[in-house]
């Protein structure tokens, strides 16, 4: 149990630049320990905006290595850099291998903070607590936050709401490279990176991306054309150009994408949805009823069962009761 004063101590320590408090706060908020929403309210009030860069791309395309290089370079240029590295939670076991630290070994010496997070069942490529973690990092004082995330699939687009600039990585030799970087992120990324460019096929990938962009840029978020760059992240080749491209775009649209109207609406809707589900299942005892029923019968009609558990009109009745009690 975390009591009120303990939250307060952590929040004060966070504002004082205490890195242990930062770390602990992220854990508590991620675990949704009671009191977390009030704590985030404090964090939200205390934070200054940070620039957020999302780095996404298929597994093995060098995201981690590139993220590490970008972080180091900006850190050397005087920015306070935090990294959130997200890996998928196994849908079968609920566990995860968070292996991004392997590729970012030099960070400690330069004060860069790296936090690994598992998606924990969230489907959009980020975890539920990613946005919270970005804000906690910003409240601590990080002014550039890199989010390295799984995949670049059609559905893994949550990073769009959170990042101001999006990098997508691709590598040669992944068969039909257009498939590897298809719709979704592809349509609105700002910088495309062909990594492992020392391998054959790098130019083909770049050409494919250019061709794809000519067709699909109707929905582009950024003004102006997307940038396509080639790198060999392990040696650092091409990385200075990536930094330059980022610096240019950060100057043009520095921060605040999380506060776009649509993103704010989506975030509040998500939070309410999560709370509604949790409340419903916790308060109704319906899960036990469901299990009993499914266990007792060999063939279950899901339509009948779900309307028994959540009868049509329940919500309307509940809201009417609440309004009546509040005298509206």
């Amino acid at each position: 149990m975390i009591m009120g004063p303990e939250w307060q101590k952590l929040l004060s320590a966070l504002r004082r630049g205490d890195r242990r408090a930062l770390s602990r706060l992220i854990s508590l908020v991620e675990a949704r320990v009671p009191g977390w929403q009030n704590a985030m309210h404090d964090v939200f009030a205390a934070m200054a905006r940070a620039s957020v860069v999302g780095i996404t791309g298929s597994p093995g395309s060098g995201k981690s290595t590139l993220t590490g290089r970008v972080a180091l370079e900006f850190s050397k240029r005087g920015r306070m850099v935090g990294i959130i590295a997200i890996d998928p939670t196994s849908p079968f076991s609920g566990g995860a291998i968070l292996g991004d630290r392997i590729r970012m070994t030099d960070l400690n010496r330069h004060g860069v903070y790296l936090r690994s997070m598992a998606t924990r069942g969230a489907r959009g490529g980020l975890s539920r607590a990613t946005r919270d973690t970005v804000r906690i990092l910003a409240a601590f004082g990080f002014d550039l936050i890199l989010i390295e995330t799984v995949g670049a699939g059609q559905d893994e687009v949550d990073v769009l709401d959170v990042a101001d600039i999006i990098l997508v990585t691709a590598i040669p030799g992944q068969g039909d490279s257009l498939q590897a970087i298809k719709a979704g992120i592809m349509e609105i990324a700002d910088i495309f990176i062909v990594n492992k460019a020392d391998r054959p096929g790098a130019d083909t990938v770049a050409a494919d991306i250019r061709a794809m962009l000519r067709v699909t840029r109707g929905g582009a978020r950024s003004q102006g054309a997307a940038t396509i760059l080639k790198t060999v992240a392990t040696t650092g080749a091409g990385v200075p150009e990536v930094i330059d491209a980022l610096v240019e775009r950060l100057a043009a649209a520095p921060s605040g994408n999380m506060e776009s109207t649509e993103a704010e609406i989506r975030e509040v809707v998500e939070m309410i949805n999560a709370q509604l589900c949790e409340d419903f299942w916790n308060l109704s005892g319906a899960e036990d009823e469901l299990r009993r029923h499914v266990g007792a019968y060999s063939r279950v009609d899901p339509y009948e069962l779900s309307s028994e558990i959540l009868p049509e009109g329940l919500m309307r009745e509940a809201l009417a009761c609440v309004r009546a009690r509040r005298g509206r």
Binding site: R24, A31, V33, T89, G94, G95, I102
Partner: protein
């Protein structure tokens, strides 16, 4: 929610990574989040990672003898930084005498070459649950 965040690493130039990879997979398959640091770690990098990732357990895989030198250093550094996470060691080269010596330095559990998956999981589960309760996360 997770059962626990477990750091897995190897010291110095110990190249034998299969054990660490196997245990990481075992933990993942049983609901744990494994912060996998891999090879070439030092007490300094482990302590920094343990703090930044707020891990519940620090697991070191030992398949060559440098752990005998590194572990005391690690334990001292963890104490200095007041890191609240138990340390467990696992590996094929750890003798009973080594295990006892390491526990004198403050290591909580040691899994030698005869250790069974069930034992490892039980111990890790118990330690993670206790630590999470202590710091208020779970």
């Amino acid at each position: 929610m997770t059962k626990g965040r477990i750091l897995v690493a190897m010291f110095g130039t110990d190249q034998h990574e299969l054990g660490a990879v196997a245990v990481a997979g075992l933990l993942r398959d049983n609901g744990f989040e494994v912060v996998y640091l891999g090879r070439f770690q030092t007490p300094q990098t482990i302590v920094q990672s343990a703090l930044d990732e707020d891990v519940d357990i620090i697991g070191i895989s030992c398949h060559s003898w440098e752990f005998l030198d590194y572990v005391p250093e690690l334990m001292a550094l963890l104490a200095e930084h007041r890191v609240d996470a138990p340390v467990v060691l696992g590996g094929s080269v750890i003798t009973t005498e080594d295990a006892q010596a390491m526990m004198v330095h403050g290591v909580t559990s040691v899994f030698g070459s005869a250790s069974r998956s069930e034992t490892i999981l039980e111990t890790i589960s118990a330690l993670a649950t206790q630590r999470r309760a202590r710091v208020g996360v779970g």
